[in-house]
Symmetry: C2
Subunit: 441 residues, 2 copies
């Protein structure tokens, strides 16, 4: 197996700043090459990375075991240990991911909108790579592969900075990626994994606009807030997912029940899970007890507005469930639980629901359940979120479900990319002009 250079270790006298500067220089050099790399060469690298991951499975699991042991010593929570763990099937999934991205069509070089102008020139757009993408993420080591291969396919160079708890795993994965790049003749510096757990590395990475074109942070609120505050490189941010479903007076109750249950309980720890359910008071009398039965059967704690709480407590079967049925406070409307907890509020009109969403939504994904066409269209137009849905579970807000093939994250920014970010989100478009000696009059 080849070794990535430069590596930060005891023998290495580089300061973190010098080290990050060196990574930046190398990335900038590789990016120039990657921008015009032929599709076939990029795809062959992706398949070679898949092969390398499979044949180095044992190395990967051994490196991961070191990380897991250190994490256990540090007393990490079981959920975090679980995210950190590589297994045979996780490694195979990473390899399959490479093959899937190889099979996606190459966005780079796509020409669109070519049209003649009255002056006689022909103007259109060509899709091009962004250049160097810095990706900062936490614990899950498979993100190293996901991020690297999406950037590679879209013609970019990447600098990856994973969590310190997965340092050994990430370095082992980096070696597999480098083997794949080498085998296909692409520059190894096209994918660099930061080899120090010094937190100062993040600070340098986000403030080298001369070397890095965009930062994609994937992680908790404190990471994102630090980056938003300190970055001088543009970012594609992924903030909280405080997602809403509003069940309208004109909703089909069967659809409403299915969507509200699926959006909350399909998976709890994901950003597109339902966190606040809004129900029109006219139908709450019938719908809320049924919904509560479904949620309680799945162990979901309900935090309700007073009106909703009174309604449930008018049924004897709910009166004893004081541990799972409580009163919501204002905090509940602004919390991303990522857990089997649901805030529920009754509203007296669609406008009240829209106002609540405007106030509390994190602009990730919000949904209305209604049979009213005009209301659905108004909701679609008014709600200012990355994904706005009609009669569909918020769990669909996902790059695979949207047909992007893969995603590097879900942007809650408005500029550049909004919602799930796939290959296209990692590219830009330049204008191209064809003339035949045309001059401006």
């Amino acid at each position: 197996m080849s070794r990535q250079k430069p590596v930060m270790d005891q023998q290495d006298p580089l300061s973190v700043q010098e080290y990050m500067h060196e990574l930046g220089l190398r990335a900038r050099g590789a990016a120039k090459h990657m921008a015009t790399a032929p599709t076939a060469q990029k795809d062959s690298a992706l398949r070679a990375i898949a092969n390398s991951l499979r044949s180095n499975q044992e190395h990967l699991l051994k490196a991961n075991a070191k990380d897991l042991k250190a994490a256990q010593r540090l007393g990490l929570e079981p959920a975090l240990l679980d995210r950190l763990a590589l297994t045979v099937s996780v490694v195979e999934a990473m390899a399959v991911g490479c093959e899937q991205v190889a099979a996606l069509s190459d966005p780079v070089g796509q020409i669109s909108d070519m049209a003649y102008r009255p002056s006689g020139i022909q103007v259109g757009k060509m899709r091009v790579a962004l250049g160097v993408i810095g990706i900062i993420y936490e614990s899950r080591p498979n993100v190293t592969v996901d991020a690297a291969i999406l950037a590679l396919k879209s013609g970019n160079a990447t600098i990856l900075r994973g969590g310190s708890e997965s340092l050994y795993s990430n370095q082992a994965i980096a070696v597999c990626i480098h083997e794949g790049l080498l085998a296909s003749g692409l520059p190894i510096d096209a994918v660099q994994v930061v080899a120090t757990s010094d937190r100062a590395a993040v600070g340098y990475l986000i403030s080298m606009p001369e070397f890095v074109d965009v930062i994609v942070p994937r992680g908790g609120k404190s990471l994102i807030e630090r980056i938003a505050r300190d970055a001088t490189v543009p970012t594609i941010k992924h903030l909280d997912g405080i997602c809403h479903v509003y069940i309208d007076q004109a909703a089909d109750l069967d659809k409403a029940l299915a969507i509200a249950v699926n959006a909350k309980t399909h998976r709890y720890g994901v950003c597109n899970a339902l966190e606040t359910l809004l129900i029109h008071s006219d139908i709450a009398l019938e719908l809320l007890p049924q919904l509560a039965d479904e949620y309680l059967a799945r162990g979901v704690e309900l935090r309700l507005c007073n009106q909703g709480l009174d309604l449930l407590n008018s049924h004897q079967r709910f009166q004893s469930q004081t541990d799972l049925i409580t009163t919501a406070t204002d905090d509940d409307w602004q919390t991303e639980y990522l857990a089997p907890i649901l805030a529920i509020k009754l509203v007296d009109s669609a406008d009240q629901a829209i106002d609540h969403i405007a106030l509390y939504s994190s602009q990730h994904t919000d949904c209305i359940v209604t049979e009213s066409h005009s209301l659905a269209m108004r909701f679609l137009k008014t709600i200012d979120s990355a994904s706005v849905m009609i009669n569909a579970s918020t769990r669909f807000a996902d790059g695979f479900e949207y047909g992007l093939g893969a995603e590097i994250g879900i942007s809650t920014d408005k500029l550049h990319a909004r919602g799930p970010v796939g290959l296209e989100g990692l590219t830009s478009q330049k204008y191209i002009v064809f003339g035949d000696g045309h001059i401006r009059q």
Copy 2:
């Protein structure tokens, strides 16, 4: 005429920070309204602004006279005074601009790419306003109208901060814009013009991400650099235009001559003017003297590489022109002259030209003149600039020429918008999902 509130004056005890905060709050409120304003209402506001500009022509010229008087007292250069001056025809052009933008199609609400996914949901994108746009610009008061109306048509609220030297003119224009908004029932706070020349206002404007979604700076290098350093709000930047034309060995010499002369001499003070001309040495013997005749006839100073200088000096007619024909230094390859000065370099291959452009181009607009299809395609793919042209004058890099209808600037950024930025560049796209009770399996 109505008055804008709040206004910074002696009676007003607001600090600049409080004042900017107040503008931000008002803009955020107006943006919510603007995002869903009907097209007809926005267009009627644009036509009403045109009428107001025409009927208040005298007020505008009077206000501008105050600015001009102050500028003359401060000893501003004639070119700057010229840019600052409003005339009857400039006011009429502003009014016509409003009518032209009213006639453009509304980007907001456009739905594209709706497709069914295997899960049964239908996914696509809807174009939406960005929210609040902060625009920071210098001297030319007609930018106040241009920027305001593009933001208005694209459903955004704006906070405009013009140069201190045009404060009276900008305030008078703001009143006309407010009359138009009022007449059409749109919120006056949709367009706010900062009424203080305190430079601290810029600092607050670029660091209120809670109120401002994007900053568009239009101005000199020092302004852009300050904003790039201090802004916590994302920006759409416009840096220098160090534009190149490369005349290849396989160029049609008539086309080359026409393009090289037009790109440099059509207008000097514009960002898409040619600044460095690269000529293949094989054709320089024939072409360079002809080109030099054309440039010298127009009073353009030529700064050449040694090889080019020797070539010209081998002709007697150029030997006496030592004031207009000089040696280029390395500085010349990195200077945006915005003046009748041209840097000229002979190269021995297309690759050398491409390398020179990669090193010195400001990634604004670069052009190749060649009849070779394969070289043209390679240039198109390789050159990483906002506009890449084949056999056409760089002067075409312009929102009107590209068919955008109007432009708020030319972005040299890669994220979000690249090249001329029109209505579309002031919008974003959100994902929309239509289901019929669909849940995720």
